[in-house]
């Protein structure tokens, strides 16, 4: 079901967590709320779930006005950052909880729990307690628990934040496929731009309680609305007011006198870092400013990059944003 958030403001004392925020999430979308900590993304998620009451504005799910409805009537599945497991219950009972409080029959519960545990690949661990599970398993249990009552909307708060890198990548992939399978409208909160771009079809970039930009990963990267978005969704070099992406800097052999274009400038190689596929080249420009360029392994080998070398850098047309 579609989610519509209209002009929502939420304050905690003198701190404004959300400042007239409006978002529309289409039915069946997989959307990321991306922003640094304190940007209000978790608060927005909690307002949608009914765990926080906004000071102003409205929340509608599936066209229904739910601004003042309690969390339990909203039909929202919520996955907490630290999973919030019911520690005294087995995995089975955790997942069964949402069905049990709806007074489903034991046969119904067992069938649905079995189905979900299979979906999240925890079948066989039904009798374990949360303390006996790994972080990734807890995460999947929390997801199965949230999905059990067949929510209209699934909300995930930093779902992969507490996991190690390898498990995180696996679960990312898996969440995307799960969404393709069950098509429930899903919003997840993250501060990791790569994660947002990898998983979500639509990204809402938030900063200081406001929405900076909404768009597909491609739109955000290629056409950032402002400096904040540009620097948050990918690496940047800052030259005065101008911003450029490190991979847009081209490195050419020899001194700049070989090239007639205006955009070329002489550059001194300060450091070369081999980071697997990409090579990070730190350069000093004639005016003393430092930039770094991202090149492929092949390019680095071809140019025989070494510290102290003088080369030519071709700078892309820099982006300058009007001061906010």
């Amino acid at each position: 079901m579609a989610i519509e958030v209209q002009d929502v403001t939420k304050r905690f004392g003198s701190f404004t967590a959300l400042d007239e925020v409006s978002v529309r999430v289409p039915d069946g979308a997989l959307m990321a709320l991306l922003g640094p900590s304190g940007s209000g993304k978790s608060t927005l998620l909690r307002v949608i779930a009914g765990l926080e009451t906004p000071d102003a504005g409205s929340v509608r799910i599936g066209g229904q006005e739910l601004t003042d409805a309690p969390a339990r009537t909203r039909g929202v599945g919520f996955v907490f950052q630290h999973y919030a497991p019911f520690k005294h219950m087995t995995v089975h009972d955790n997942v069964a909880f949402g069905l049990l409080v709806r007074k489903a029959s034991k046969a119904q519960i067992d069938a649905r729990v079995g189905e979900l545990l299979e979906l999240v690949r925890l079948d066989g661990l039904a009798k374990r307690y949360p303390s006996q599970l790994s972080g990734g398993q807890l995460q999947r249990m929390a997801l199965a628990r949230a999905l059990a009552p067949e929510p209209q909307v699934l909300l995930l708060d930093e779902p992969f934040g507490a996991l190690d890198v390898k498990v995180r990548a696996e679960l990312r992939e898996w969440l995307r496929r799960l969404h393709e399978e069950i098509h429930v409208t899903t919003i997840f909160v993250t501060h990791d731009q790569e994660e947002a771009m990898d998983v979500a079809g639509q990204i809402v970039v938030m900063n200081a309680g406001r929405i900076e930009q909404t768009g597909t990963p491609h739109e955000l990267y290629e056409h950032p609305a402002n400096e904040f978005v540009m620097s948050f969704v990918g690496p940047v070099n800052r030259l005065g007011d101008a911003l450029l992406r490190p991979h847009d800097i081209q490195i050419l052999r020899g001194g700049s006198d070989l090239y007639s274009e205006q955009s070329t400038v002489e550059a001194l190689v300060r450091r070369v870092a081999h980071l697997g596929f990409e090579v990070r080249v730190e350069l000093t420009l004639p005016d003393g400013r430092d930039v770094w360029a991202q090149v492929t392994r092949e390019t680095a080998a071809e140019l025989e990059l070494a510290e102290g070398q003088i080369l030519t850098a071709r700078l892309p047309a820099p982006r300058v944003f009007a001061a906010a």
Binding site: A49, G50, L51, P70, A71, R72, T73, R74, V76, G77, F78, F80, H82, A84, P85, F86, K87, H88, M89, F97, G98, L100, V101, R102, Y129, S131, Q132, A142, R145, A146, A148, P149
Partner: protein, 304 residues
Amino acid sequence: MSASDLAATAPSAAVTARRTGPRGGGRASAHPGAHAASARRLGLRFLALGYLLALLGAPVAMIFYRTFEHGLAPVWEAVTQPNAVHAFWLSIELVAIVVPLNTAFGIGMALAIERGRFRGRALLGLLLDMPFAISPVVVGLALVLVYGRTGWLGSWLTSNGMQVIFSIPGMVMATAFVSLPFVARETIPVLRELGTEAEQAAATLGASAWQTFRRVTLPAIRWGVVYGVVLTTARALGEFGAVSIVSGRLEGQTQTLPLYVQDRFENFDGTGAYAAAVVLALLAFATLLGMNLLAKRTKRDTVV
């Protein structure tokens, strides 16, 4: 760290020595100042044990010794006296009324103080500790002032045929007052540590406030509550001062077990006093033992 530094920190080392066991001890004895430290540790251990013995061990042992020094027969005779039996059941009755009352109230207070969002929560916490601060005798007198025959509310109650002072209601009130804070005080820190996330998760899963409390909050705080119940029971069983005033100490009517012990003692009935005291002590042991057994069984059943 020099030897004098080590000596200065020795008391805390002695405190942790029991817990860390041989590992902690091994580390200390590898150090040049280890002899002084281990002597200190031994000394402190004796001091602690001696303190416990003088305060608790010796008197309790003496009571048991005095009670059973002439065999079981006189003891049996003393505890089966009608007044003794009545006092025993009266004490049990008070506990049976007061403990459930204070458990429900204590959990409610703990939830209000820890989960509530209203002004004056700090004040509520302060009020909750009043029974710890006020002498039970004062509590008893205050109750008499309000509920006594000539009291503020008491005159109205009396004219309507209800007697509070010198009867069960007054004794329940006195006992409830003095044992009021235990459940809340034991439950509050557990609630705080639990946090609100699991409760919020239950809400998003469709649970009502009551379902959340019964299925999520209560099982998570049950050890705090159980410990509070044990303390409440012990306090209610042993209450003397407040009950002594509001009960009027009517033999065979409003005499609880502690009041009976004092009555026997004052009437030079040593055997009666000691025997009843032993029964009181055994009741307390049984409460503690019951909790320990419960704790062990639950630990085996669930891994939390």
